[in-house]
Point group: C2
């Protein structure tokens, strides 16, 4: 019997599918992308992935028998059986994703929600390497999340575990969240939310600010903070307070070892963690004061790392 030396991670997004070939030790041996064809209910997506994997394995002279599994991440809930109820971005209705991918490739497939597998990736080879109890927050257009308990993804009973962006933060915030609710963490702690907080402060205050000189982006806010801009600092304090409070609630519930912050906003670097942690310490339960705060390090590759890692248990 051949040694199952390899594993494959497949991170399915609405525009591209990222894929990676790994050895069991977690070395990324090759990385490639294909276009996500969402037309006709996304019927070509899984066959395209299977064909691309076969092709790539041939290039590397790896047989399917040497691959212990394929992990696939999708932008939406997936239950423990690898079935999705509906994945709007991909055109899919109910689909038995892992069963179909296994049939198409002859290689056992597992899967998960993309934010959850990204957290697993950061635990395997990223900012949370060496830990077993992790909360990851991805601060991008929205706020995504993934929770790892004792080395395993918290999937939840509907595949909706770790939806930290849709926890309650502040009912007084203007507008509604994409989920339909009002006051979600995502509305105030995403890149979009940060821009909104900055615009509110620019309107409320007459103070001079670097933020009056250019389009307001998440990057511009933290660049201004680094330059000592007082208005931007007030915005960062409010942003940090929302996140610090929310994370204090998550740690009282989950008691993890480490918080990983990823997504576009995390490009601000360690100063972002300072603003979050300062407010975290004001609100956290005392047994959880020592939780570590780290930045994600795998960027857009977290998904393929995490997907590959799901097949190694």
């Amino acid at each position: 019997m051949s040694v199952k030396e390899y594993c494959i991670g497949v991170d399915v997004g609405g525009t591209t599918v990222k894929m990676g070939l790994f050895n069991r030790g977690g070395d990324l041996l090759d990385k490639w992308e294909i276009v996500t064809r969402t037309e006709n209910g996304g019927e070509a997506i899984l066959p395209d992935i299977a064909a691309s994997i076969k092709e790539k394995l041939a290039v590397h002279q790896v047989t399917p028998q040497e691959v212990c599994g394929i992990g696939i991440g999708v932008p939406g809930p997936m239950n423990a059986e690898g079935t999705v109820p509906h994945t709007a971005n991909l055109g899919w209705g109910r689909k038995e994703v892992t069963r179909e991918l296994t049939e198409l490739t002859g290689i056992p497939a597992r899967g998960g929600n993309d934010a959850n597998v990204a957290a697993l990736g950061e635990m395997w080879k990223g900012g949370a390497e060496g830990y077993r109890n992790v909360i990851m927050l991805t601060l991008g257009t929205g706020v995504g999340g993934g929770i790892i308990i004792d080395g395993k993804i918290l999937v939840g009973s509907h595949g909706a575990g770790g939806e930290v962006g849709h926890t309650y933060a502040d009912e007084t915030v203007s507008g509604h969240c994409g989920c339909g609710n009002k006051g979600c963490l995502e509305q105030v702690a995403s890149a979009t939310g940060l821009v909104k907080l900055a615009k509110e402060e620019l309107e409320r205050s007459a103070d001079d600010s670097l933020l009056r000189q250019e389009p307001v982006t998440a990057k511009a806010v933290f660049d201004a903070v680094k330059a000592g801009d007082q208005l931007a600092i007030r915005v960062a304090e409010r942003f940090g307070d929302y996140l610090g409070k929310a994370i204090a609630t998550f740690t009282a519930v989950l008691d993890p070892e480490v918080i990983v912050i990823g997504g576009g906003v995390s490009k601000a670097g360690p100063i972002l963690l300072e603003y979050i942690q300062k407010h975290y310490l004001r609100h956290c339960y005392k047994a959880t004061r020592g939780v570590q705060f780290v930045l994600a390090t795998l960027g857009n590759d977290a998904g393929i790392y995490g997907c590959a890692r799901t097949v190694l248990d």
Copy 2:
């Protein structure tokens, strides 16, 4: 080899130790109590428990070899190895609880935090029977919690998993929480918190109310609600809003199947669930709308049931 037909649950409180002898099917065959002797650093507690168990087994003509294990719950954090860092109510400093109890009895022991094992008890034979993903909130003097993921207690990395009473609820609340923080859920959603909310409303409003005629207790508030008392109903709405919002956050993170409400306040009955669920539905993430709300049914026996259940895996 004898069949290991029995298990024992030991729920250690600051005043009494409750114990129960169960068969593997979860029938409670006998239940008894001893006094908790907390003097001298609580050194007598585990020997007293061991002696009482031996005596009781002799009465039932059960040999230690027929007992698959003893589960012990304590009022404080206990890590996965069965060690407590410090349990103030019992006089204990750091103590290897399960190792010592195993040595004293010759029967394998496991353990956990009392609120966590109570949740496991309710899953085994109480309000959450048949479910595998459970959040339990115990609304008593404080707010305790226990979380079950896929049939197992979420212990956390410091044994502080499920400390839902110390999640953030409202910074504007008067006074501080017993944990030292300000604005904890426990301050507004415990029996004590409910009384505080009622007293605030009695002061703020000039309305007539049944609550002006007797000492304000959690029971009096919900009795008045049942009698149609408008002031009490406003208090119940605010109480339900705090809990509904908090539980919406917990379910977005954990995606459980069922919420179990226990503790003294839960004696109000189904009307309590109505006030919580109404506000829950205003705030919850859509994938978690269908979560069930049930009352705890085991009362003070939840601990011994849950402790006994810990040794059956």
